[in-house]
């Protein structure tokens, strides 16, 4: 509960006062933080690879060739083949689709839902606030991995369920941050003014509060993606994640795990892919946070 108590007036003044445009912030990022820019470039490359996967490889991600299983890397199979004779490089490319989707989609859902709930809680206040925040507290109380496991257990396997589980796990922390920002903004002069001249609540929330929460939402978005990508690998480890013959990096690491000591490329290739993308999102998120929202450092 301490976030909103730390000098809210200063907070709101800064957000509104230094109305630096999004474009300017990005320019500043480009100027000040080369690593973040490079990270953005890496992410862009991965997205390209995911989108154009079919053009980059002659194989399909589920094409099995039992007679040629566990082949070492060669000119035919750049990263060798897996335990069912599937081309690992191909699966890495197609895996980018699911892994990026698992990173982005649930995070997007949780940010949008969390922000909506957070704004309502902060703006309406009173009982609505109390009920929403207690529910958020309950969600936050669970160790996230355990909660995701239980939700997957309940919903069953499947990618849609993974989206849902991860979104359910993450919305509450977003709601908390956005709520505290809303509380600060609520006290700002122009929201007071808008209220006085009788602007509808919904309009104030949409027009005035939401846009001002955007920077922190964007930062949270970039920073939550890596944890979702990693969560997929943990869920696959537990056997409740994406199912074969689908390709996802976490699943690939996990099925390659038993061959780690004899055919290390099977699990190392997707591991390194996960590591690079996770680091890239982290660096980009850090950079964005530095230029956009100095108060999110917590």
């Amino acid at each position: 509960m301490h976030e909103e108590q730390l000098n809210p007036t200063l907070h709101s003044e800064e957000i509104i006062g230094e109305a630096e445009t999004f474009k300017n912030q990005l320019l500043r990022l480009k100027r000040e933080n080369k690593l973040a820019v490079f990270s953005a470039f890496v992410i862009f490359l991965f997205i390209l690879a995911a989108v154009f996967a079919p053009l980059l490889t002659p194989y399909g991600y589920a094409d099995e060739d039992i007679m040629n299983r566990l082949q070492p890397p060669s000119s035919e199979h750049w990263l060798g083949t897996d335990d069912a004779g599937r081309d690992v490089f191909t699966r890495l490319l197609y895996g980018a689709r699911i892994s990026l989707a698992v990173g982005i989609i649930p995070t997007m859902i949780s940010i949008l839902f969390g922000a909506m709930v957070g704004i309502i809680a902060g703006f309406v206040g009173g009982k609505v606030d109390a009920v929403i925040m207690r529910i958020a507290d309950v969600m936050l109380a669970f160790p996230s991995m355990l909660l995701a496991m239980v939700i997957m257990y309940t919903l069953g396997d499947g990618i849609i369920n993974i989206f849902l589980a991860l979104a359910l796990v993450n919305w509450a922390s977003v709601a908390r941050v956005v709520r505290s920002e809303t509380l600060a903004l609520k006290k700002s002069e122009y929201v007071e003014a808008a209220r006085c001249i009788g602007v509808k609540q919904r309009v104030i929330m949409m027009r005035h509060i939401l846009p001002n929460c955007l920077p922190s939402m964007i930062v949270l978005f970039t920073l939550n993606i890596p944890s979702s990508i990693l969560a997929e690998s943990s869920l696959s480890f537990l056997g409740v994640g994406i199912q074969l013959p689908q390709a996802a990096w976490g699943l690939m690491v996990n099925t390659g795990r038993q061959f780690f000591y004899s055919h290390p490329w099977l699990s190392l290739a997707p591991s390194i892919a996960i590591m690079i993308i996770v680091m890239a999102f982290n660096f980009l998120g850090d950079g964005l946070r530095d230029v956009m929202d100095p108060h999110l450092k917590k």
Binding site: K34, L70, D83, L244, Q258, F259, Y261, S262, L268, M279
Partner: protein, 532 residues
Amino acid sequence: MKKFAVLLLVLAMVFSFAACGGEKDTQVDVEPGLLRVAMLSDMATMDVAQTTDDYFVPMNVFDRLFEVKVVGDGVTDIVPSLVDTYSAADDSVTYNFTLKEGLKFSNGSALTASDVQFTFERLLTAGGVNDDIPLEVLGAAELQAGTADTLAGFVVADDLNFSITLAAPNAGFIAELTSPAISIVDKETFSEGFGMKIEETIGSGPYKVTEWVVNDHYTLEYNENYWGTAPTATKVVVNIVPDPSTQNLMYQNGELDMIDLGELDTSIVESTYKTKYADKIITSRRVGLTYFAMNANDEYLSDINVRKAIQMAVDRDAIVAGIFNNQATVEHGIIPAGVWGYNEDITKIPYDLEAAKQLLTDAGYAEGEVTIEIAMDSTSSSGTQLVIQVIQQNLIAAGINAQIKTYDESSWLALRNSGEMDCFVATWTMDYNDPANIMYTFYGSEAKTKIRSLNYADTEVMARVAAASSIIDDDARRAEYQALEEIIVIEDAAWLPLYENTHLFAIGDRVADFTPHWAGYTNFYAIDMIMK
């Protein structure tokens, strides 16, 4: 850019760690006679009445009336264990037994005929899962239903002598008595905590359980009161290590004296064990077989032409070579190799993709019209999952629209037991060395066929299967089983046998020799592990 290069450098350092580091010999001091093994999960109970999987403690801590002895490569013999002598009446209905003299449980109390009687009665009344064999005894149904207090067919003459009368003749009864299910328990000390508390789980076998830390490890130690020769492994520690990769590394590091290579992928066995530990590998046949079951009530599978096409479309040789590196043999019947009654000369199903396609076309099916769902249990081994995927590809190649659907274990079982499953792949490992074990379980009655062979319909065959166990003449009984096998597999095309696995183990430097369980179970008799 430079900074990123630095990061990559750090990464490279971490990974290259793996490449360096000299191999040192660090055989830690281990007390002599200590056998260290690992299992993937802990046992739920030590009580055979409550489990059909956790046989390690029952096999080592308890004795049976008879045991199966491995006398040569793939050759087994049934030998008396607690029993000294026995005789069977000509009708195979009544059997007379005499126990060895001076038998004792690990707590010192005598093992007598009334303990055997108690064992049979308890299996029937405990509401457990292992009552198939005692149910054959005369009066078993009455005892189970509560209309009788004792098992009428079980007569105790004195401490050493007793007789068992069956409800129907069964020439394979002695073979059945070797099953771990018939582990003899002590009537006097039997109590509530049997199977769960180590001090209340008393047997007469070579070992007693001295420690059980749930989910961590359990320890067996030599039972001084054991009637037979003392084992060379005087103490056995079973560690629970849920990750096979970790077990693999532990074995290579000298932390395990034996590893079950069945847990590892064949390619790892091939690349690591067959090269570095070739002289440490112990091979055993896993007596049983993996099969593909087809539902006789299914819209398409009820057509024998479809079933025949499927039989011909699956390339079993490729499965055995590709997935199992030939650590398996193709099976052609129902009774697996290594079982009494196995028929080498059964008509073999050919692999013929064109003939399969032709058969479907002739039967009037368009390409892709036949649609079936192969149900996969998500907990089945990675080998089985690969096999299912290959079968799917084979069937698609034959123009059958085969889909794999994954179910969690409980949903899979529920669906199978409902008789609604289209088809599935599963493995049956023999409990005792008699064809009745598999023939009766799969084709003995309508209740059995509904679950096991997915609604196999021929009631005449079922009646013959049920009657076969009472044929007294061995040759006649074998001929009958083999005739039935031919009808089910070839004429009715109701069953697609796939392969029988070979089970490999690797022993450590401290072990001199090891004889696995005759049917290649993961569980083994620690007394058959000869320590250096």
